[in-house]
Symmetry: C2
Subunit: 689 residues, 2 copies
């Protein structure tokens, strides 16, 4: 259908239905489709191709689940403390707790190598929609289509890897409306340069998490090495120590994890009534287990720290999303938008035939998912070791197959990253592993009952606690050398291993595979096919004016530094060091509101009016943590570390009146590095242009 | 019914219905019925009779609409800047704006006499329920009962005034469940000693009003004189310059204006759907007129300042109440409580016969009120002058009658206060008077239409603006000497006056009286009678465990200094000067967040960690402004100036999880007086024991 025809058919219905439901600064835009004209119209600034290419190449994906950016030509990369927290945990020991105490390398020699941190830089992007589409032939069943799609994706990735040597991922966008091949420069020699104390990085703790006004120095600096030398990365963001002012236009370049804005009403209702409550109760249960473990003693508390943070963080985020979904107005708006969209589709017999059934198909999938709720509890639970065991058991069998036939996580293009994670030298905490495995099995038993075939197979008549104890105390998989041996020994070595955990997982493998096949055939393939229909319908109706849901791939968002109405008054656009000391004194310097000693000792050195955190209307979500905030000049002026609590519902609907991205101000980072951390050399390195 | 029988009938229904719906620290208790045992049980502290008498006698009612307390034996009285604001406005001139710039009397001679400020101290309290009740004979109609009650109340007040010389008011409590005679020591020579700048007293302006965290130095100090000398008032609160800590037990002694916690569901629904929306729209309209007036120039802005504050304050408070009433959960809870109460009443044939119809009677009154909505617009509107004119027109006729026959505001016991207000030398702003009168008439015309008899009588065919201009430019009532002459000249002088405003009001008087009689007979008497039935039923069912709704009479409330959950995190129990500077810097020192120059110049003198404002669970509402916060020792540790925004719904339901009273901390007042205002002598006077 032509653009003109589209305009005409729009004009026949209500004006508001033509405009996609895009609100003000909404949008996590792929770099091939940045709404340059819209930015120009609204802000009088045009990001050029050079500007965009530069920003893209300076942006970094932290495969631990965050974002970052190059901030010097000497390989310095900035991210959040909470993105770095997993690595800080892994380099810490019972004697030295870098999570708690922070770290500063005074020389290159002191920089701390991270055990299993992989960084990616998006080197190039190629639209492969046509090739993916061509693999799916008319008349294929959903199941056959899924297989065909997986095969061609595996093939595309392998081709690209072979041709370029770059990590190559095919990414589905717009619910399958488009497929793109993203190629990444990959870095795995990453070393810690600086991290402040957790107490100031995560100031206010779980209470203040996801709120604003906020007072966090949530930063960490790494250096990327290549062949033993700091990488010469010429695409880096210049450090602007003055930061940004209220009212300024800013950009955020980062990797939002996932959103559900294009989901159907039935999908959101399922999430509200079943999906999120299930996740929340599981998270709460798991948090209880880990907190009980931490209560055993200070060393256990140290080991559990990053895990507790992660669980509490998820609970607060998903809890906020769930609260948002329960707002009747939200789903009412969704219902209205969807009705308009479906009416638009129904208006064209051609569209109606191709796409019109998709909503009902998705509703049916949700019903089926609910009916098979028990599937959620037929799984290898636990923490890191059981997952490692399953990877080892499957590795040999999978890599022997053609790429397109493999389970997706064993595609050639991702194998190197998978091995990197599998063989990580990061410490394993067996008692924590045991507690989590025991509780996972216990939960499965409670949910499924003792007669469930999976339970019978997994427990073999034993008690969950006894089995977990037996498996974890008996296994040697905690030793990376043992994992390496098994990996290199291939299927024969894995089959012959007497390791109890490996043997246990081996015994579950075929059951779990059957179940996965059932899920792919009965749920996933139907859902993907129906979603793709809706994605194509949306393209037909609205074009690319709607941005795709987040997929933990690079996106650009833009907005204004501005406060918002909050609790009867106005939240400011920024906080200052004054506010940090106020919050500390307000709570008598206790608990999550205590200050590290240096803040009290050196208070008088600080310019207390220095902006500390600030908010903008930029549209972000989890995964954006660590993203740089940029000004028009492409300089870094801030560091995203959170969304405000009002933004959590942004997973489903963006509302620019209250949705705000929270960032650390570069002026505060500079002030703290100089006056509190004696990191003059580091600031000098940042200041060199 | 005996106490035992009551317990038994309670035991027959659900336990929760027995316990009146009293939540934690809820309760604005009259001083004769302080829940001493409950305080002892909860806090291990027993306020003795001496403690209570002392606190009562140190407490002050500001008849401008607030509270205060004696804080020295030399007549110093502390209240809020915003309670003092009206007087500050009245002593200001185009040359000297004390509202804006603040004031400090360095010597007694410099203290500024207030034109029309009356302070009351509750000297004694006497239960007169039996005498009021005895005046209402069996078989009287509601209308006759109302008359009889008014007559006996007038008589009681007059008797008391004649016997003691003290201002004597009969107060209905528990919706007529009890009547008490309150006798007040009255002071009318009150002089201003200290007020800070409005910018810091009302820091954050309308946006921050009714919110927390807060940063206001909302204080003012007066001195009470008697016969030209500072009054020797031995019952005063000792100044505790250290103030109070988080978690401490505190008390508030003050004059909450009104609450509606004992109202019926039908009454609350009426307020939600009709009463409050009407008040809000009228307030908004009036605010628009006054703001337009203020925009004419700086002198007009100065004149309108206190009025704008008052209107914005009411709008935010009533707006918050309305939002609260719209919460479905609130009325659902009310419905549940009411159903339980009615069931309890219905369980006794005797109760059911005496009280059971009252709820339906009240619902009928609300319907009738709504049907006669037009009555709201048949009134003498405007500002101060039209009201003065009406008082003058009626005065002679009313005082000629027996006390019980008079309109209530002309009862003997209140006449002196009424004359004090009427003859106030405070400046009148004719152009503002004209603007408000014109708009009031315009609103009446719009609501009632040109054919309405009141409109025809009031406008006499003229345009509202033209009539207001004619009346206000022609009147001499702005001159207190003219008002005095008319008052002393009696009915003949008033009847003969050619003053156009007086003549206009004279022409409306009998119409307005007829209307008032209709309202009293058709609405007020029925409502009072039905409410009294409910009040008596509540006594019968629950005893005095429920505290009466607020009536701008002295109450004691108690609670704990503690933060609360707010916007996803925890609001602290207090703020500090750090927070003040943070909020200022966060908004770039602009607008309502600017700081007076001395705060910037003397910042380094301040201990920034000094507590500035704090919150407690004490149960307060408008009218409590200026109330002292006391510790167990009866020392003053804070100064109430607000409730948080979550407390506004407290008009209907108290919820101790989030309802907080906001106070200025004595440490901040001391710190500011010493280090910012050079008021050493004043602090010395406070510190002398």
């Amino acid at each position: 259908m032509t653009a003109l025809a589209r305009t005409l058919s729009c004009a026949l219905i209500l004006g508001q239905l033509c405009a996609p439901a895009l609100r003000a600064d909404e949008g996590m835009w792929t770099f091939d489709n940045v709404p340059v004209k819209q930015i120009q119209d609204r802000y009088g600034f045009t990001p050029t191709k050079e500007w965009l290419d530069h920003v893209r190449k300076a942006s970094v994906r932290f495969n631990d689940g965050g974002s970052g950016s190059f901030i010097s030509p000497t390989g310095l990369v900035l991210t959040n403390h909470h993105v770095a927290r997993g690595q800080l945990q892994k380099v810490s020991t019972p004697q030295k707790d870098y999570v708690k105490d922070g770290f500063l390398a005074k020389t290159a020699a002191e920089e701390l190598p991270c055990p299993d941190l992989e960084l990616n830089v998006l080197a190039s992007m190629e639209d492969v929609t046509a090739r993916v589409r061509a693999a799916v032939k008319a008349g294929m069943s959903d199941k056959e289509a899924l297989k065909a799609r997986e095969a061609v994706i595996g093939k595309l990735e392998k081709e690209s890897l072979d041709a370029t040597g770059l990590r190559s991922d095919v990414v589905g966008l717009y619910q399958g409306g488009e497929y793109w091949l993203y190629r990444y420069q990959k870095y795995t020699d990453v070393r810690l340069v600086f991290a402040p104390e957790q107490q100031i990085a995560f100031y206010g703790g779980d209470p203040d998490n996801f709120t604003f006004p906020r007072h966090d120095l949530d930063m960490a600096i790494f250096r990327v090495y290549d062949k033993g030398q700091p990488v010469q990365h010429h695409e880096y963001l210049k450090w602007n120590p003055k930061g940004v002012a209220t009212g300024e236009l800013v950009f955020v370049s980062g990797h939002p994890g996932s959103t559900d804005r294009l989901d159907t009403l039935a999908q959101l209702e399922y999430m509200r009534d079943h999906g999120l409550p299930l996740r929340l109760s599981s998270l709460r249960r798991r948090l209880g287990v880990v907190k009980a473990y931490a209560a055993r003693g200070p060393e256990e508390a140290r080991q559990a720290n990053a895990t507790i943070f992660g669980l509490e963080n998820s609970l607060k985020a998903i809890g906020g999303e769930h609260e948002g979904l329960k707002e009747p107005a939200l789903l009412a708006k969704k219902a209205q938008d969807e009705a308009a969209f479906r009416k638009l589709v129904a208006g064209s017999p051609e569209w109606q035939k191709a796409y019109g059934q998709a909503w009902d198909e998705l509703a049916a999938v949700e019903k089926k998912t609910l009916a098979n709720r028990a599937q959620n509890f037929r799984r290898v639970g636990g923490f890191r070791l059981p997952g490692n065991a399953l990877t080892l058991v499957r590795y040999g069998a999978e890599v022997a197959k053609a790429d397109g036939e493999r389970l997706a996580e064993f595609h050639s293009a991702g194998l190197e990253s998978l091995r990197f994670r599998l063989l990580s030298p990061a410490p394993v905490y067996p008692a924590l592993e045991e507690a989590l495995l025991a509780d996972g099995l216990k939960q499965s038993l409670e949910e499924l009952g003792p007669k469930d075939p999976f339970i019978q197979l997994a427990l073999g008549g034993k008690e969950p606690e006894a089995l977990a104890h037996e498996l974890i105390t008996g296994t040697h998989l905690g030793d990376p050398a043992v994992r390496k041996q098994l990996l290199e020994g291939g299927p024969a070595a894995v089959a012959a291993s007497q390791d109890p955990l490996l043997a246990w997982v081996r015994g579950l493998d075929s059951y779990l595979r059957e179940q996965r096949t059932w899920q792919e055939e009965q749920l996933q393939s139907v859902e993907e096919a129906a979603s793709e229909k809706i994605g194509r319908a949306r393209f037909a109706a609205y074009g690319k004016a709607v941005n795709p849901d987040a997929t933990f791939t690079l996106r650009l968002t833009y907005g204004t530094v501005s406060g918002y109405p909050c609790n009867g008054t106005q939240a400011p656009a920024k906080t200052t060091f004054y506010g940090l000391f106020d919050r500390a004194a307000s709570f008598d310097f206790k608990g999550p509101f205590a200050l590290p000693a240096r803040y009290l000792e050196r208070r008088d050195k600080l310019d207390l009016g220095t902006p500390l955190n600030f908010v903008s209307t930029c549209d972000i979500i989890g995964g954006n943590s660590g993203s740089p905030v940029l000004n028009r000049a492409g300089e870094i002026v801030g560091l995203i570390f959170d969304g405000n609590i009002e933004s959590l519902v942004g997973r489903f609907v963006y509302d620019d009146t209250r949705n705000r991205a929270v960032a650390v101000h570069t002026a505060a980072m500079t002030e703290a590095l100089l006056k509190l951390y004696d990191a003059e050399a580091l600031v000098k390195e940042l200041s060199e242009k």
